[in-house]
């Protein structure tokens, strides 16, 4: 084996088995992973069982979801490989040592390919197994199903990673961009378009509505045929579906799944041998070298300059702002869904359903806020990199530094959450107390989750990470998401009963009685108190830990 793997393997060993022994941290991660694995399996089992127990249509629908899941896994892996590929192949710091050594490009490609595949897909491979494995249990496919499933998942990961890397290498060659990181913009946009096409090809909205088809036979036929027979995830889905239904095994599909990773790998290696050097040369050119920026006059205000610094670093880093396009698309699609909700076809009164959806929407908005916090706020402390030393040596307390960071993100996140809540309430034609319940609860959740993201981001800050996006797969980020979503769910559960009573009284035209008002105000105070306390504890813990992480 090429010695190029040594840093990767030693890094893994030192991280998980420091001193040759399994560390308590590793055990904790394993326990957490096992718990998540079991939870995913049980939830999947319950969901698939629900579909499966309906009727023949339920079985077909569950298999259609199976195919969609494969498609989503594949697409996400390609995008993730493309983003990691730019960093790993062209921007990695060790390129200077490796490319200057007599190591061949094929060795370098093999190392980049396998390590990128590992980093981008280990989580997807491990956590897709309980979901797809649950199908085997429901369809009573037996242990052989699992023996087909595992290689199929690995093959799909290998193909996605190979395609992602090859496309990245070609893109870096094709686009004469001085800023190599700008390619991430193209990659993000490409992913958005790809995802759009995939979703359009699958036509998910038609699946739930047989009435849209002229007759039921056509609906069944649409459901039973693979949407994209030329794409590898369809091969994996079809191969496993065949086995799930009647234990048949399609050798052609198996061969395609087995051979395609090799074909894709050699195509990538070919692209690497012809295009890497020019792409790598371009990657080393600076974007700002020839460009002069407009100077501004100096005013001695730490907060003003802190905000200015944060903003400039965000705007000038294309890997950051390019994702705003995706957020824009996300918001549009999110709100569009509310516009097309068929409320009038519901068996219960439309305004009652609208109120229920508006309440559930607090959770959805909170989920979006938590995801965006994980992407932008959680890595914000570690992103300071070695320059964090400047903050530590400056006469600025870490508490104040944390406050500035919090205030910087507070405005955009408040605007985003308030816009999402207000716009969806407007589209749902919500009037009365639900408007305020959703806005107030949503904003408390947003402000708390923001503080949690900064707190966890400081506690697990990695000032040495080459790529802050990679930090998102780390233990701290997962813990943050888990804690943030738990807080959201608990808040929504706690506010459920008073919200229900308040809305019911309003809908029936009754006065808000004293007990209802006391319960409402009490719950609100409880949520504010809990949110404030969690925010304070998170930020304080972050302040305590962040300096230690720097050394």
């Amino acid at each position: 084996m090429t010695p190029l793997f040594q840093p990767f393997l030693c890094g893994l060993r030192n991280r998980f088995f420091p001193g040759g022994r399994i560390s308590s941290r590793t055990l904790l991660i394993l326990a957490f992973g096992a718990l998540l694995f079991a939870a995913l399996y049980l939830v999947s089992l319950k969901t698939i069982f629900y579909f499966h127990s309906q009727n023949e249509l339920g079985v077909i629908l569950s298999l259609k979801i199976f195919e969609m899941a494969w498609m989503i896994v594949f697409t996400m892996l390609i995008f993730s490989s493309m983003v990691s590929g730019v960093s790993a192949v062209f921007l990695s710091h060790d390129n200077e040592i490796i490319f200057a050594s007599p190591a061949s490009l094929s060795e370098l490609y093999l190392m980049r390919y396998l390590t990128t595949t590992f980093y981008t897909s280990w989580m997807m491979v491990i956590f897709s197994l309980p979901v797809f494995g649950a199908y085997g249990k429901i369809f009573e496919a037996g242990p052989i199903y699992l023996l087909i499933l595992l290689p199929a998942v690995i093959a799909i990961a290998a193909i996605a990673s190979g395609v992602g890397l090859a496309v990245t290498i070609i893109l870096v060659r094709l686009f004469p961009a001085r800023r190599t990181k700008d390619i991430v913009v193209y990659l993000s946009l490409l992913f958005g378009i790809l995802l759009y096409f995939v979703i359009r090809l699958l036509r998910p909205e038609e699946l739930a509505d047989p009435e849209r088809f002229p007759d039921f036979i056509e609906y069944l036929s649409r459901m039973s045929t693979p949407a994209t027979p030329l794409l590898p995830p369809s091969w994996a889905a079809d191969l496993l579906t065949g086995f799930l239904q009647d234990h048949s095994f399609d050798w052609l599909l198996a061969a395609l799944l087995l051979l395609t990773p090799m074909v894709v790998y050699f195509a990538g290696e070919w692209a690497m041998s012809r295009m890497f050097f020019s792409g790598f040369s371009k990657a080393q050119e600076s974007f700002g070298g020839s460009r002069r920026f407009q100077p501004r006059s100096y005013r001695p205000s730490p907060m003003l300059w802190f905000f200015r610094k944060e903003l400039k670093m965000f705007i000038r880093d294309s890997s950051q702002w390019s994702q705003l396009f995706l957020i824009g698309a996300l918001v549009v699609v999110y709100l569009y869904n509310f516009k097309v909700l068929p409320l009038e076809r519901s068996p219960i009164p439309a305004d009652a359903v609208a109120n229920i959806i508006a309440y559930a929407n607090i959770g959805l908005t909170g989920f979006i806020v938590a995801s965006l916090c994980a992407r932008f706020v959680y890595p914000a402390i570690g992103a300071e990199g070695s320059a964090f030393g400047l903050i530590l040596t400056a006469p600025l307390s870490l508490r104040r530094y944390m406050l500035y960071k919090y205030l910087f993100y507070l405005i955009p996140f408040t605007v985003l959450a308030a816009t999402l809540l207000a716009a969806s309430n407007h589209l749902l034609r919500i009037t009365g107390p639900m408007w305020w319940i959703s806005l107030v609860t949503g904003l408390i959740i947003t402000w708390t989750v923001l503080a949690m993201a900064l707190g966890f981001g400081s506690m697990y800050a990695n000032f040495k990470a080459e790529n802050q996006a990679a930090v998102l797969g780390g233990f701290g980020a997962i813990l943050f998401l888990f804690t943030a979503i738990s807080f959201e769910l608990l808040t929504i559960l706690a506010a459920g009963i008073p919200a229900y009573r308040l809305v019911r009284s309003w809908r029936w035209g009754l006065h808000f009685s004293n007990p209802i008002m006391v319960q409402t105000v009490g719950t609100l105070l409880l949520i504010v108190l809990a949110g404030g306390l969690i925010s304070l504890i998170s930020l304080r813990k972050g302040v305590e830990k962040m300096a230690d992480n720097f050394h």
């Binding site: 100096y298 001695p300 300059w305 610094k309 670093m313 880093d317 320059a387 400056a394 006469p395």
Partner: protein, 262 residues
């Protein structure tokens, strides 16, 4: 100006700094020398407030760093061995950011920045992104960001790394001038020539302990080498004297070309 009392720092089982005490007077340039891994940077990081000591205390201008960290940091200018910078800011924006953190007045900022950017040949680059700067330019920028504040104590880790001869000469002159004006400078360096030329007193740290501290005369007397330069004294005191013999042998018997290539 700078007083260190019984300072110790341990990383796991390794005692990086072991009970160091020293005092540096106002207007004095103190050179901190030692072999690689001796504990120089750890000591400097503790003085700059980056690392918390396990034991001991640091006083800057009479104020305890542990009790009044912000006051001490306000009076200390720290230049790290590797320049910490925000790559996506321009040189001028970086200087403005640092000045605002330390509360430098507008007028002082204007005159000092122009002065140091001109001295370091960075005036034409001030509005370009730092990511396009060379290593030397980065080092000069961070040096300018510290010098513009005119703090009473400068703590400098490897001041000449990456600087061209002209800039190195310039930095040495600035340090001398600053010291004459009353600034205290605590610097660590591997360049014995710089230490010999600049420093009023020199301390040598070995395996975390301050082996010796004093003027060149004190060091010569301790090493028993009354006519020697700092290099000989350093090698003697660090127990690396046998290296001299190895170097002499290498000079006398250089490798033949056939031995260089495999």
């Amino acid at each position: 100006m700078l007083k260190i009392e019984n300072l110790s720092k341990r990383f796991g089982h390794h005692l990086a700094v072991d009970n160091i005490s020293l005092t540096v007077q106002q207007g004095e340039i103190y050179g901190f020398l030692g072999p690689n891994g001796a504990g120089k940077t750890t000591t400097i990081k503790m003085i700059a407030g980056l690392l918390q000591p396990d034991q001991g205390a640091i006083f800057i201008n009479g104020a305890s760093l542990a009790e009044q960290p912000l006051l001490c940091k306000q009076q200390t200018g720290y230049v790290p061995d590797r320049p910490w910078l925000y790559e996506k800011l321009t040189g001028m924006e970086f200087l403005q950011f640092i000045a605002s953190l330390y509360g430098v007045a507008q007028e002082r900022f204007r005159t000092a920045v122009t002065h140091y950017l001109t001295l370091f040949d960075l005036l034409d680059w001030q509005d370009h992104l730092i990511e396009s700067y060379s290593h030397g330019m980065r080092q000069k920028l961070i040096m300018a960001s510290v010098l513009m504040q005119d703090q009473p104590l400068l703590v400098i880790d490897e001041p000449m790394v990456g600087l061209d001869p002209k800039s190195a000469r310039l930095v040495k002159e600035i340090f001398k001038q600053k010291a004459r004006a009353g600034t205290t400078i605590f610097l660590s360096t591997h360049s014995l020539e710089i230490a010999e030329e600049l420093c009023h007193r020199i301390g040598i740290i070995i395996e975390g302990r301050l082996r010796i501290s004093g003027s060149m005369e004190t060091l010569r007397a301790e090493a028993g080498r009354h006519d020697s330069g700092l290099e000989d004294i350093f090698l003697e005191l660090t127990g690396a004297w046998e290296l001299k013999e190895v170097i002499a042998a290498l000079k006398a018997n250089p490798a033949k070309p056939s031995e260089k290539q495999p």
